[in-house]
Each structure stands twice: as structure tokens, then as C-alpha cells.
Symmetry: C2
Subunit: 224 residues, 2 copies
DNA sequence: AATTAATTTTAGTCTTGTCTAAAAAAATAT
DNA sequence: ATATTTTTTTAGACAAGACTAAAATTAATT
């Protein structure tokens, strides 16, 4: 039997856990102090302080100068915050007329609301969605995340066709660009030409030809 | 032209404003340091510190030893937080299967979410409700609160009939007691007997006679 | 292998919001 | 009018979370 403190993690601790979780799934290595600092717009020294505290709380393992790795508890906690973030994003888009470029900042706040009943009822109210408005999978209540096979648009060869299934960048600017060019989740995209000089592409979306920079093509996920 | 800082008030400042607003409408006098401390479960010295800061921010006027009074800006700010609190309570009850005794703690968290679009869309989504699940009026977006004529149950005379329109106490214990005795907003209540010794009442609700202590009768609002 | 460069940690400071203990002012009682 | 009690404010301390500057460690070059 163990004691379970209510309001287990502070807002700041939750943000660190989430950042480390995301960095860990990207790199599959120990997550470095600097990487965390950059993601959270803070300083490395602040990160060192915080990861020591989080190590005491058993959500990650930390060895001086060696970066950190989440424990099972840490992963579950982070996944739960991401679950809340993505469910709220679905709610905002489906029920409150938000567009996909408006939801992130509000979800950053809502993800910290503490109420198991709230999040489970919200899940039911939304009909147990599997993906958020950006195509990212929603973890289940045990913290399991469905792994999706996805590749970046710029990996398609000339002539190949794919379906847009997600974005790597959820910034408002990027999403508005996609809106402007009629690119949305579920839409078909065919690569017509690849320009070797600047790695840009000419693609076809709904009959229209558009030019896509390398940076854009590097942030759009496609399923063949 | 004036500069408007984003995220104008901290969570703590918002809680102080809300507490002062509620204490001010009750007492119509300057609100005392001790009263604020008691409402927020904190110490008078902490309150003194905070009200000095809030006075600097022009949301209240403060003279040493004389208590505080909200400015127009302070009242509007507080009313907006209360608006959010009550709209969220409606959402939880109407859409997410919460009962009226479960909503308050979650709304205490949700009321601090900053997004004008969120709260206006929520208002529309709920069909512009005028009252929250406890019968309290929901301020409009300009901070105006409808004044409701209401009196406590124990002001009814023997034989008089009224309709339950609100509660003075939103604690889970009180609300569960009402549920248990089939008392809900909109229900008719007739006072059959008043016991002078302990100020208790015998009332009739939906054909059933029940005994009501003074404390209960002092927390139930009635419209004749 | 020895330097240099980059990363990470430590030490010390700051702000916010809280606390306790003591001093000051106001309210109440004698 | 004075003394006592209550309320309020000040002074000093603390924890969380952040920062800067300096020291320590690791990584990369020569
Ligand atoms: Mn997001
Ligand atoms: Mn998303
Ligand atoms: Mn409430
Ligand atoms: Mn309420």
C-alpha cells in the first residue's frame, strides 16, 4: 500500500514531463538538459534543478551529465497529460467552432485541469476519438499510444500519391498555410516534380498544382 | 491608448478578486482583511500583501486599516471569472453528466482558463444560459449580473408556499442532502410548521413531509 | 595527448505567494 | 479616560521556479 498525494504534479512539473516525453519519442536516446531547455524556452540551469526534483519523485532517472529517461510512472503521467491536451483540442474543433490553428494554446492550459471524471466524460461526449485535429493519436486512459506508420511528404518519389494524415508542426502559421492551399487531413496529394536545387516540390491537391518548399514538405505526414 | 498586458492577473490574484467580489455583494461595506483571509483559508498578513499589489494594479482601492473596495475594473474582472465558473458548471451538468454537487471544484480550476473565444463559444454552445446549476445568475460578457429577488426558506410563514430557486451553500454535503430529500431547483415547498425552540421546520415537498433544520432553511433560496 | 569548445552543474540572486512573530492601530470594555 | 482585546500591518523567513555567472565535466579538435 502506498500513499497517493492529490494534485501530484505542479503545472511546471507537468510541462517538463510532457516535453521530455516528446523529446524521448523523437530521439530514442537519453534526453539532454539542453534539449529540454530549448523546448521549454528556459535555461539549462533551471532544467537541472527541475530534473533533480523529478528524479526524487521517481518519474525519471537522472545521472549527472548523462541526461534523463522517463520511468514507467513518468511515461504514464506524460501520456495522460497529452491525452487531455488532444481530447480538449478535439472538443474545441468539433463543438466550439475553433479551427485547427487556434486550439493549441488553449489546450496547453486545459491539459492541466485535474479531474479524472472530467476527462473520461469528455472522451465519451466526443465519442472516443482516436486522433486529434492534427492527426496525432490520443492515448487511452492507461497511457498507451497507438503507433502510426507515417512518413514525411518529401520522402515520396515523383509521381507517387499519398494521403495527408498529420502535421509535424502545429504552429498557427504552418496550419494557416495549409488551409490557404486546401491541404487538410484526409486529402490526397500527388508529387509531380521534385526540384533538386532547393528540394522544393510541385504537388497536385484537388486538381490544383502548387509549389511546396522543403520546409513545408518536411512537416507534412503522408500515408501511401 | 493604453497598454494591455496579456495574462493580466495571476491565478492567485483572480482568486482574491473573486473572494472580494463575493464578500462585497454580501455586506455592502468595505471588505475587511480578516474576512478575505477567512474566505481564502489564508492569513491576514498574506492578504495585506496581496491587496497592496492589487491596489497598485488599480482593481481595488485600499487605505490602511480601512479594508478594500473594488474599482469598476476590479468588479468587471471578478464578474468575468464568475461568468466562466458558472458557464463551466452548466457545461459539466448539461453535457458531461456531472451532478450539481460535483461541479464546483472542477469549475474552480476551469474558471482560470484564458481565452475570450473559448468562453463566448461555450456560452453559445450552451444556448446562453442565464443561471448555473445552483440557481446563481451568470454575468454577461460586460460583467453585468442580473439581480434576483430571493429570500431564505426560513423567512416563509407557516402555511406559505414557495419555489426553490437557489442555494446559499454549494458544498457537496448540503447538495447531497437536498438530493436525498427530493429538493431541487424549481420544486415547490410548503412550510407546514415552524418549531420555535430550535427554529426547525416541517415542510412538504412533492407530497412528502420532511423536517428541516434551521441551518438547512437558512441556505435555501425561495421565490414566493 | 593536449587544447579548445560545448554542455552541464553549482552557487548565489530574484520574484511570487505564503507563513510566524512582533508592532501598531482600531474597537471594545471598564 | 484608560485599559484590554481584536484587527491589521510590518518584519523577517521560506519554498518554488526562474535567472546569471562561474566552475566542472564531457565532447571535439588539433
Ligand atoms: Mn497541441
Ligand atoms: Mn494536436
Ligand atoms: Mn461553484
Ligand atoms: Mn454555482
Amino acid at each position: 500500500m502506498y500513499i497517493c498525494q492529490k494534485n501530484m504534479f505542479t503545472l511546471s512539473e507537468e510541462n517538463y514531463l510532457k516535453a521530455i516525453f516528446h523529446l524521448a519519442t523523437d530521439s530514442k536516446k537519453g534526453v539532454s538538459t539542453n534539449a529540454i531547455a530549448e523546448k521549454l524556452n528556459t535555461k539549462a540551469s533551471s532544467v537541472t534543478d527541475m530534473i533533480q526534483k523529478l528524479a526524487d519523485k521517481k518519474v525519471l532517472v537522472y545521472q549527472k551529465y548523462q541526461g534523463v529517461e522517463l520511468t514507467e510512472l513518468g511515461r504514464k503521467t506524460a501520456a495522460n497529460i497529452i491525452r487531455k491536451h488532444r481530447l480538449w483540442e478535439v472538443f474545441l474543433v468539433e463543438k466550439l467552432n475553433f479551427s485547427w490553428d487556434e486550439v493549441h494554446d488553449v489546450a496547453e492550459q486545459l491539459e492541466h485541469i485535474k479531474s479524472p471524471k472530467l476527462i473520461n466524460e469528455l472522451d465519451a461526449f466526443l465519442n472516443y476519438p482516436k486522433k486529434d485535429p492534427h492527426g496525432d493519436p490520443i492515448p487511452d486512459k492507461n497511457g498507451n499510444i497507438q503507433v502510426v506508420e507515417k512518413r514525411l511528404l518529401h520522402h515520396l518519389k515523383e509521381g507517387e500519391l499519398g494521403v495527408c494524415i498529420g502535421v509535424n508542426d502545429s504552429s498557427s502559421n504552418f496550419l494557416k498555410f495549409l488551409d490557404k492551399n486546401n491541404i487538410a487531413l484526409g486529402k490526397q496529394i500527388r508529387v509531380l516534380e521534385k526540384e533538386p536545387f532547393d528540394d522544393s516540390l510541385i504537388v497536385e491537391v484537388e486538381g490544383k498544382k502548387i509549389s511546396i518548399s522543403h520546409k513545408i514538405a518536411n512537416n507534412l505526414y503522408i500515408e501511401k
